[in-house]
Symmetry: C2
Subunit: 433 residues, 2 copies
């Protein structure tokens, strides 16, 4: 097992297809594959593209070394194995930048290359985009609901240990302020944060019972008075009193992790104020999702800690994107059977906006056709170059840039597009195909 190699993060059938394709002209035919979502998750108004940066990074580690070759040799012929040994993606990729909003049918990623080199990337590309976009899409709703109050992402323990790292990244892209996850801090530079759990307070219990004050004193000594004390291990009112007794009014914050968070936040705010500690902030956590966050908007909450619902996409754990062959040697192709029919031919897209900046429509059109006329609206092309000749382009937007881009994008939506209730996509998509 080599965790730095990504070549086996793919499906068996991608390789058997390559094997069959290599026996004839198909392997080297010029192909266009397109990533898109047929629909948004139930009731969602928009999706957020995330993971593109990771796709480009993992692509460079998609190589068949000796270990990978040994594995695939178990079911592949020698010619295919030899071809895989030399495998490098040499094609081009264009796509929506990270942090771009997307809608049903948006051509999120366009991969151009030979059939064999491009088909091989299907699973890896979809895994990354489907996961990261699901998390970013859910996180963006939470960030909107929090109305500028900061959110700390702390869901690592509720998802696969490596998915947790990507989740932190996607959440940060979506506007979350910080993460609990240290690997995300190292790998992607996401600010990390955290202070203490109930176990810390419980650990000070002795034969005579709990000693919350000793726990708080030890934490303040180690982490400074600006720390956040968790006040709901035993009795919250006593906990708040202990916190201020120990730390004084310069304490950074108290955290409440259970109970009716709205009621408790008000009680604790009143208590802190009456204790002469009006500057001590209140952090709430515990099963929060975008709806719970919104319901706390009128309460004296300063920071939200969000876990499970964020890293599981708040009901939509995958974005449902697909990777479809749409063109072979310039000929548009599409599956015809049943309800999964799609439209052949490489596509591009633009988004139209009013002078105010509010977007009104997305137009998907055949790549190479004239850019659609905005009829008085501004017209912004949505795809940018990401990979040329197999190499990442120099100016792929950074995570920080993408984060700002998304913040702008959300502001550009018609107001009803930011609603949490179920509804149609925030803007319609028109097809000029």
């Amino acid at each position: 097992m080599s965790l730095d190699n990504t070549a086996l993060l793919t499906d068996h059938y991608e390789l058997t297809m390559v094997s069959a394709a290599l026996r004839g002209p198909l392997a080297s035919r010029s192909c266009v594959f397109e990533v898109f979502a047929r629909r948004l998750p139930d009731g969602r108004r928009y999706g957020v593209v995330a993971g593109t940066g990771r796709v480009i990074d993992e692509l460079t580690r998609f190589r068949f070394g000796d270990d990978e070759i040994a594995q695939v040799s178990q079911f592949l012929d020698e010619d295919t194995v030899a071809w895989l040994r030399d495998y490098r993606f040499t094609g081009d990729i264009d796509g929506y930048r990270e942090g771009e909003l997307y809608f049903p049918g948006s051509p999120i990623l366009t991969v151009r290359g030979t059939f064999a080199e491009a088909v091989l990337l299907e699973t890896l590309i979809l895994s990354i985009l489907n996961h990261d976009s699901a998390i970013a899409s859910a996180a963006a709703r939470m960030v909107s609901a929090a109305a500028k109050r900061p959110i700390i992402e702390m869901g690592s323990r509720r998802t696969h240990e490596r998915a947790a790292v990507a989740s932190s990244r996607a959440a940060y892209l979506a506007g979350v302020a910080a993460t609990s996850n240290l690997e995300a801090a190292r790998t992607f530079g996401v600010p990390s944060a955290g202070t203490a759990a109930h176990a810390f307070t419980l650990g000070f219990a002795g034969p005579d019972g709990p000693d919350e004050k000793a726990a708080f004193a030890a934490q303040v000594e180690a982490l400074g008075v600006g720390t956040t004390l968790l006040v709901d291990t035993y009795d919250i009112t006593q906990g708040v009193r202990n916190a201020i007794d120990v730390a004084g009014p310069g304490l950074g914050a108290v955290r409440i992790d259970s109970g009716d968070l709205g009621v408790l936040a008000r009680q604790v705010r009143d208590q802190l104020d009456s204790l002469g500690a009006p500057d001590v902030k209140i952090v709430v956590s515990g099963d929060l999702d975008e709806y719970a966050i919104a319901s706390l908007r009128a309460e004296p909450v300063d920071t939200y800690g969000v876990g499970t619902s964020l890293v599981t996409g708040s009901g939509a754990p995958t974005a449902g994107m697909v990777y479809k062959l749409v063109e072979v040697d310039g000929i548009p192709v599409a599956k015809r059977a049943s309800h999964k029919a799609s439209v052949g031919g490489a596509k591009s897209a633009v988004r139209l906006a009013r002078a105010s900046g509010t977007v009104v429509e997305e137009v998907v059109y055949r790549t190479g056709s004239p850019t659609p006329d905005g009829e008085g609206h501004s017209v912004r092309p949505l795809q940018i170059p990401l990979v040329r000749g197999g190499e990442p382009v120099a100016d792929v937007p950074s995570l920080t840039d993408s984060r700002a881009h998304l913040a702008d994008g959300l502001v550009s939506l018609p107001w009803e597009g930011l609603g949490l209730s179920h509804g149609d996509p925030a803007i319609p998509t028109r097809y000029e195909l």
Copy 2:
């Protein structure tokens, strides 16, 4: 970034707690942490423990090397950093074996060590168990619903690229026959399988239109007549005819990936039989979950391909397990505030069964108390040693053994426990605490 190191797959606050604990006696107090689920996901009758083997493996790679030290030095004092440099878990872990069924309150994993060494493992242990158990629990329901027909797991593209590997492992544990994921084949020895996607058939299109027969011929030439041909790219009836024309009645199978799978399976079966190909099997795929699988029980389906719903836990993407400090220097401790109160003290559990093998009750009792009396039922202890003095024990059950153990466990449930409809846990849990 080093993907082989797991030390940063943890939360910032685990390390700040260690830092604060190291300044006093807490760091070295003898502690017991317990992993359990307060409840099963909505309406589920049982959970399946999965991931234990991965926990043990990743534990051995939980080390703070230079890179990890550089990261945590940004927010930790020198003493803590020095302590982390030497960090090795030296304690003991007992737990439910992989493939064991669990219920609310089951003491799934018990970690014994000093506060500092044991608190540090919370996030990593929970990430693995919560993810893998969620997938295995969903997969077990699908395997039950499939009633001995094989299932191929093919959901890698719908989840994080590394979560996909763990999902394949968990699905195999739960009785799924094979996976599409090649990394799972390499890392965990899960059998991998796959043939071709629509893209392969579409790739044979030319200026004169599609050429499904050429695609089928190329696939049969490369993969042999025992392969599975995907027949719904264009017209299914014509696709089946083309498949038999090209491959003859010795063809392995046809796959249908869209449409009303029950209706289509019957049509295709009739057509195959009338074409003199009664031995050609039918594989169905496309948005299957346990309910769809069950609804196809009366149809002539031979194999199910399951993707999205499996790797996302079919509505329950995380198992909701928590890691709680329950004992400090022999003193039981527990959070008291609000609805998240739990019971202190280290716990053990046994499962009682009738002579027929049908289980009737789980009994959770204080570790060290006498094993509960079965009152005529057989009594099976549920925890086994997993780690001693920081080292994995020699006889941790293999994935294959665990798979067989789960199959036995499912058979031991009262019949209503295998129902797919919402209901209570299959057996009650009695607390002798």
